[in-house]
């Protein structure tokens, strides 16, 4: 190991919503050479720690000073500005970003909007949930509903719901029963102890029938949902059921009512036994964006400050505004690479300021681009796990190495809040 080697333990990975905080990161000669215990997704997320350090104004290199002045001018002149919270920024940066939207009387949205159907369903019904560690301690029956976490949440099973020893489950995996519910091509884990197949067009009916059965309204066991009803019997006999579903959109769009049906089933199961619905969320601290917007505005995403106070426009978020030509300047904070396609496409036709990791490489040609470090790799702060557990970020690189998003966004906020 060279003299310049630096090791950071207990680093938190934001590669997906699991936010594994057991990563040991090694930096040698200015490069990140190892992320121990990280999965393939995490290894790719940490990368080699190299990020561009460019400030670009209308395609040409510029100073940060000029970039901030130009950004301030553009945003102040905009009539319908949009702030978008992309991935890989800390909650501290998100807090400043919401302050900017408030000051501009603009709209603000975030990556958390990708899971809108689940958030809206929970706003209608509530939810029965748990932090991931509680599933670890208690869940003796784990039902993966149309999802194999290995693909997008690789360490979910190993760290949380399936493999580890828990207080009530001393033998770990052997103490638990795992059921895969295959909804068409959306299949549960291959190594499940049992499987239930449900055609996609029958998913909602199956969930409804299961709930009816839980509530004591007997559903014919030899009817079309016989296997689902058999699963209900297993669930009600278990001591603590973890019902796991993906909250992020999959390759094929799912019924918008599915999220609500899952919540209703999980809630109903708390009458005969205990049940928590675990909704899988993507990475980049999107759950932090949801939490910060909620505490600062009362709404989790798709907020509009246009009237001088926050209003909720869950069906007119950033994608809809951009597609409808309702945005005349956009401030994107975070990594452009994390943007959903619908947002990235829409930004093409708008004067945009990008501040974040690899902002200068954004395909939609920002008017002003300021590269920064990545939260959790180059700068610290707080991020939220998919279950809203806050975690500290432990940067592998020292603060002086890379321009921070925190200081850049704070400087922009101060300019916008200062006298015109």
């Amino acid at each position: 190991m060279s003299a310049a080697a630096r090791t950071v333990e207990h680093a938190t990975c934001l590669g997906c919503g699991c936010a594994c905080d057991d990563i040991t990161v090694v930096v040698q000669r200015g490069r990140l050479t190892e992320a121990k215990r990280a999965c393939a997704l995490g290894t790719a997320w940490f990368g080699d720690g190299q990020v561009p350090d460019v400030v670009r104004i209308r395609g040409r290199a510029g100073t940060l000073e000029r970039a901030l002045s130009e950004a301030t001018r553009l945003l102040r002149e905009a009539k319908r500005p949009l702030v978008y919270l992309a991935g890989d920024i800390s909650c501290e940066v998100q807090r400043d970003a919401v302050a900017i939207a408030d000051r501009l009387k603009g709209a603000i949205d975030s990556l958390a909007g990708t899971a809108a159907p689940g958030v809206l369903a929970a706003q209608r019904r509530g939810r029965a949930g748990a932090t991931l560690g509680e599933l670890r301690q208690r869940a003796d029956l784990v039902v993966f509903w149309g999802v194999d976490p290995d693909a997008r949440y690789p360490r979910y099973s190993a760290r949380y719901a399936v493999d580890p020893v828990g207080l009530a489950l001393p033998a770990g995996r052997r103490s638990r029963r795992v059921i895969a519910v295959d909804v068409g091509d959306a299949r549960g884990p291959a190594d499940a102890d049992g499987r239930v197949a449900i055609p996609p067009d029958a998913e909602l009916d199956a969930l409804g029938a299961m709930r009816a059965q839980v509530q004591g309204r007997t559903v014919a066991p030899d009817g079309p949902f016989g296997t689902a009803i058999a699963l209900v019997h297993e669930m009600t006999k278990a001591r603590y059921v973890a019902l796991v579903a993906d909250a992020e959109p999959g390759p094929t769009p799912s019924d918008p009512d599915r999220a609500e049906a899952l919540i209703a089933l999980a809630q109903a199961l708390n009458d005969p036994t205990r049940c928590a619905l675990s909704t899988l969320r993507g990475g980049g601290n999107r759950s932090g964006a949801d939490a910060v917007l909620t505490w600062q505005t009362g709404f989790p995403f798709a907020v509009d400050f246009g009237r001088g106070y926050p209003t909720y426009r869950p069906h007119a978020g950033a994608a809809e505004r951009l597609a409808g030509g309702e945005v005349d300047a956009a401030l994107v904070i975070g990594a452009p690479a994390t943007l959903p396609d619908s947002i990235a496409r829409g930004l093409g036709g708008v004067a945009t300021i990008a501040i974040g990791p690899r902002a200068s490489a954004a395909g939609w040609k920002p008017v002003v681009a300021v590269d920064t470090g990545v939260a959790g790799i180059h700068e610290g702060g707080t991020a939220f796990r998919m279950d809203d557990v806050p975690l500290p970020l432990r940067p592998a690189f020292g603060g002086e190495d890379v321009r921070s998003a925190a200081s850049t966004v704070r400087a922009l906020r101060e300019r916008l809040e200062g006298a015109a």
Binding site: C91, R103, R124, G129, L167, N270, A276, Q296, T311, Y312
Partner: protein
């Protein structure tokens, strides 16, 4: 007017019960962020002749920040849409933030509204240690008021193991470590053992001697251990207890048994109203306020806050998961439950207390009985368990109910009387709180119970937190809109308008404990936790 570093609040009628001042006309002098005994002539004056001067309000128990509160906010978009809070126009164009209100306001609105009510300190009453970092971030975004939080401990798996093993000293050291690492102010117990039973697949505990996992662990043992820990660690505020069986008919027996279990030890029993019911489960309710408050009156080591129910919208949000499941099952309203690993729970049900609902009317009456039968206002202080019994914005209405018997009797006529037989309120309670007593139950008392020597009074050296009210026969009107509020020497409310929004300070303890416990806790984390020991807590 700018905010001078020296200010004479001149000629007001001062209520400063901690210093024995009960309606005397005198000046209050401020230098920097402190009260001072005297200032030279010629310093800037605020002429408040004819007005009422009190220390800034101190809320001993409210739910204003952290993960449970944020789950509640997320659940209530309809309330937020209905109660927009534009950014206040601050002096000199200083930046201010907009937000939303309802029963669970956004953080900035929370700070502004507390200050607008003359409150300058508020304690968040229930934070899961796992989410302490989140609570601090929200409090950082809650302007003006000084704040701190109580950390949840009564259902913590590591703690219960220590109790099972008879390791009382280690339990105390664990509490000391946890308070420090989460930057908390006090220990909170919610339904001791009951949440653990709920998380383990059961329903709840029913009394102090139910077994929780190990036969050595009972609610009684949890109470004794943590009360001992709080006193052993010499915490400024004793253990803060939400008893078993909240909201159940007949629960006064459990409440009294809990108090007796801790006889002779300092302890604070919170939202006592929710724990003072007679009757029997399945057979009906009645008031048991007199029995409970008689016991409190006779035991100087105990203190309580009332947790008054106010008619109108509320949101029940608590670590008491099993209670919220019951409320969900009986009300059919939307419901959030979040079990929190190795520590506690969280349950939320939006609610409304209606005059015509028999149980709500009983709850309202029980709270008022507790207030009116209390002998020592220093130990029976004001709360609505915001937003559980009503929001903090209803405090002025509550003050009117306490100060104005005619108004109270009029309101009493309008409520459902079905369950009020035997209530002292129905028999006619003549007592009317004085302004001096209101100053005790809303500032001097809570500050003393919290062990905050710099709060709740106007003596030299106190924090310069001062509220000035224009007298009004309608006490609700008077207390809803102070003319001036001074926080830490800054005039934040001027002529009834919020004009400045300074940042509040954080109140936290860092008790001494035997650090050997850390090694053992780390082992437990390595075996069971999903967050690294090193990443736990909220140290900067």
């Amino acid at each position: 007017m700018t905010t001078p570093s020296r200010l004479r609040i001149a000629g007001g009628t001062v209520y400063d019960p901690a210093n024995g001042v009960d309606g005397a006309v005198q000046d209050v002098c401020i230098e920097g962020d402190r009260i001072v005994a005297e200032l030279p002539a010629g310093v800037p004056r605020l002429d408040v002749r004819g007005m009422v001067v009190m220390p800034g309000g101190v809320d001993i128990h409210a739910h204003v920040a952290g993960s449970s509160v944020n789950h509640a906010r997320r659940l209530l978009p309809e309330e937020h849409a209905a109660d927009p809070v534009p950014a206040p126009p601050l002096a000199d164009g200083a930046p201010a933030r907009s937000g939303t209100g309802g029963t669970v306001p956004s953080t900035f609105a929370t700070g502004y509204r507390y200050a607008g009510l003359g409150y300058t300190t508020a304690m968040e009453a229930a934070v899961a240690p796992l989410a302490a970092r989140h609570a601090h971030a929200e409090l950082d975004d809650t302007p003006i008021i000084d704040s701190g939080f109580y950390v949840l401990l009564g259902n913590d798996d590591y703690l219960l193991r220590q109790i099972a093993a008879g390791e009382t000293a280690r339990a105390r050291d664990y509490a000391g470590w946890l308070l420090g690492v989460t930057r908390a102010y006090a220990i909170k117990i919610v339904n001791p053992g009951g949440v653990t039973v709920w998380k383990g697949g059961g329903r709840n505990v029913s009394g102090l001697d139910d077994v929780v996992g190990s036969s050595a662990v009972t609610p009684r043992k949890i109470l004794e251990t943590l009360a001992g820990a709080a006193n052993g660690l010499a915490l400024p505020h004793p253990v803060h207890i939400h008893c078993n069986n909240l909201g159940q008919p007949g629960n006064s027996a459990t409440t009294l048994e809990s108090m007796r279990a801790l006889a002779g030890r300092r302890a604070h029993f919170t939202h006592l109203q929710f724990h003072s019911y007679g009757g029997e489960r399945g057979k009906g309710w009645k008031s048991a306020a007199r029995d409970v408050i008689d016991y409190v009156n006779g035991h100087a080591e105990l203190s309580v806050d009332v947790g008054q129910v106010m008619f109108g919208s509320a949101t029940t949000v608590t670590a008491d998961g099993p209670v919220e499941h019951l409320l969900y099952a009986s009300s059919g309203r939307k419901w959030v439950n979040v079990d929190i690993e190795l520590e506690t729970g969280c349950g939320i049900v939006p609610y409304a207390y209606r005059e015509q609902a028999a149980v709500a009317a009983l709850q309202w009456a029980v709270g008022l009985e507790l207030f009116l039968l209390a002998k020592d206002p220093w130990r029976v202080v004001l709360s609505t368990d915001h937003p559980n019994g009503g929001t903090f914005l209803s405090y002025p209405e509550l003050i009117r109910l306490l100060m104005d018997r005619a108004y109270r009797d009029e309101r009493l006529k309008g409520v459902n009387q079905k369950l009020l037989a035997g209530s002292a309120l129905l028999d006619g309670l003549a007592r009317e709180y004085t302004l001096g007593e209101i100053a005790i139950v809303t500032r001097a008392g809570p500050a003393r119970l919290l062990g905050l020597p710099q709060k709740g009074h106007l003596g030299p050296g106190a924090d310069a937190d001062v509220t000035v009210y224009a007298p009004d026969a309608d006490r609700a009107k008077m207390f809803a809109a102070p003319r001036y509020v001074i926080k830490g020497g800054t005039v934040v409310v001027e002529d009834g308008q919020l004009r400045r929004a300074s940042a509040g300070a954080r109140l936290a303890v860092r008790p001494d404990y035997d650090v050997a416990v850390k090694k053992d806790v780390k082992r437990f984390f390595d075996d069971y936790a999903t967050v690294a020991f090193e990443n736990y807590g909220a140290e900067p």
